[in-house]
């Protein structure tokens, strides 16, 4: 672990009565696939309530495997995952899946219902919401991503950027404790990318963003962690990590050509 860090850790592990439990606490998480390939070797990560954290790592670092543990799709070989004080175990799965909103990379996988409205309603309806309350929840979630006018369209008639935003709305509708985004900027054109960033910045929800898009992490997340070869190898302020060229090179993380860290002003939340 990087010794630079991290005031957040101390704050998270010793919650005082007025600070809520950390949104996410992962301790010693290890996992091997049934074919014997080990993907995670003891991951520790704490994300405080309201924080926005980027999980950086090269392809094949185990990022997606890690994400699938957060809502209990995969069961850890060792270690624990706790979401806002609730351990991720079989009998809590329904509540855990409500609290952890995962936005998958391909919106066509995420949006499986015939219309946008029904898709956004899917999660809350599965949790038992009905009638006017459900309709209000859908309108609210679509409003937060600026897609309220498209509620009755089929998802496959939307542009890719719009689909990504609807995908975010589908999990916002569940009022999650933590929003987990898997490569949120992939395949987006610059305008859609900025629109999504504006939306994410305006949300008052904990965000864990899994990405190798380093400028996007810098733009949105004050704190970053690096997952490499199944362990967290660095944890600290994003700008600090990205300017550590040795660390970046060691984990196959690269800024795009021409990107100068000193020249950017990071938008304040």
């Amino acid at each position: 672990m990087d010794p630079l860090n991290n005031p957040l850790h101390t704050r998270a592990t010793a919650p005082t009565p007025e600070t809520p439990a950390p949104s996410l606490e992962v301790a010693g998480l290890a996992y091997a696939y049934p074919d014997g390939h080990q993907a995670l070797y003891g991951v520790d990560l704490t994300v405080a309530h309201g924080e926005r954290v980027a999980l950086l790592g090269p392809n094949g670092a185990g990022k997606t495997t890690f994400v699938l543990h957060l809502n209990g799709i995969l069961t850890p070989g060792a270690g624990t995952v706790t979401v806002a004080g609730l351990p991720v175990v079989r009998r809590h799965l329904a509540e855990v899946r409500r609290r952890v909103g995962i936005v998958f990379q391909d919106p066509d996988d995420q949006l499986f219902m015939p219309t946008v409205r029904e898709d956004v309603a899917f999660g809350p309806a599965a949790a038992g919401l009905r009638g006017a309350e459900l309709a209000a929840r859908v309108t609210e979630a679509l409003g937060r991503v600026g897609m309220a006018d498209h509620a009755d369209r089929p998802p496959h008639h939307l542009s890719f950027g719009q689909r990504r935003r609807v995908a975010v709305a589908t999990v916002l509708a569940m009022r999650p404790e933590i929003l987990v985004l898997d490569e949120p900027s992939s395949n987006l054109d610059p305008a859609s990318r900025r629109e999504l960033a504006d939306i994410l910045r305006a949300l008052d929800v904990t965000v864990l963003m899994v990405t190798h898009d380093l400028p996007y992490a810098l733009e949105l997340c004050p704190r970053s962690v690096v997952l490499s070869e199944g362990v967290i190898t660095a944890d600290g302020p994003t700008q600090h990590l990205l300017s550590d060229t040795e660390l970046m090179a060691a984990h196959r993380l690269e800024l795009p050509f021409g990107f100068d860290l000193r020249s950017v002003t990071i938008p304040t939340p």
Partner: protein, 253 residues
């Protein structure tokens, strides 16, 4: 890809037939088809009456005859089979234009042709006046097993996605100078089909993952829809009730 918001069979409109709740229409079409099938094939005139009934519905739904007839072409393979029957069936022969045809075969062909065409026409009318989503909701309301409704609704949702994928694969093949000409190239096409199958299968797994992540436990939520009123049921029942009367006449006269 912007083929509009509905399937090709649907014809947007605001007729009284469009306004009926989907499940009433589905039940009406089913009962109509049952009445048609139950009619003796020798009562030839009843089938003309059935056709008139459907024409009346089409007029009420403002579906033009050309639209209806063009979509009836889907029946052609069955027609081909029906046309064969008088030649291959056994039994006493009759001579028409110098060809010996089997009499039971002729009746069999007539039976398939008349009842099939009426059934297809009724279904085409149903599809022309009800959008896909409505059809699925209607089936769900009629207590069709939810699993079947889910499969159908995923087919609709992902049909375009997969067709798009197929198109991209075709463009990729063409871009590298491949054009399927003749049997020797079938191997490549078969591999494309295999690749598409695997891709779709993997997408299925990812979709399932996304569903489970949002609390899927085996049922899809049914949007609230107002129950059909008695008046709506009565209106929908007009077609099958008339058909039933024709059917009974066919048996008694």
């Amino acid at each position: 890809m912007s083929a509009g918001h509905a399937h090709k069979l649907y014809r947007h409109g605001h007729s009284p037939v469009h306004a009926l709740p989907p499940h009433c229409k589905i039940a009406a079409v089913l009962c109509f088809v049952l009445a048609v099938v139950a009619t003796p094939r020798t009562a030839v005139w009843t089938f003309a009456l059935y056709a008139l009934l459907l024409a009346a519905v089409a007029a009420a739904a403002r579906v033009p005859a050309a639209f209806l007839l063009k979509r009836l072409l889907v029946e052609v393979p069955f027609v081909a089979f029906a046309v064969l029957m008088p030649f291959v069936a056994t039994g006493p022969r009759v001579h028409i234009l110098g060809t010996a045809l089997s009499e039971p075969g002729l009746w069999g062909a007539w039976n398939i042709l008349a009842k099939g065409t009426l059934g297809v026409a009724a279904s085409v009318l149903l599809a022309a006046t009800t959008d896909l989503r409505g059809l699925l909701l209607g089936l769900q309301r009629l207590r069709m097993p939810p699993l079947l409704v889910q499969i159908a609704s995923f087919m609709i949702r992902y049909g375009d996605v997969i067709a798009d994928e197929l198109r991209r694969m075709r463009v990729a093949r063409l871009s590298r100078g491949f054009e399927a000409r003749g049997v020797r190239h079938w191997g490549v096409l078969a591999k494309t089909a295999g690749a598409l199958f695997i891709r779709s299968y993997e997408r299925g797994e990812r979709v399932h993952l996304a569903m489970v992540s949002r609390g899927y436990t085996g049922t899809l939520p049914v949007p609230d829809a107002a129950a059909a009123t008695g008046a709506q049921w009565t209106r929908a029942a007009a077609l099958p009730a008339a058909a039933l009367a024709v059917c009974l006449l066919g048996w008694t006269l």
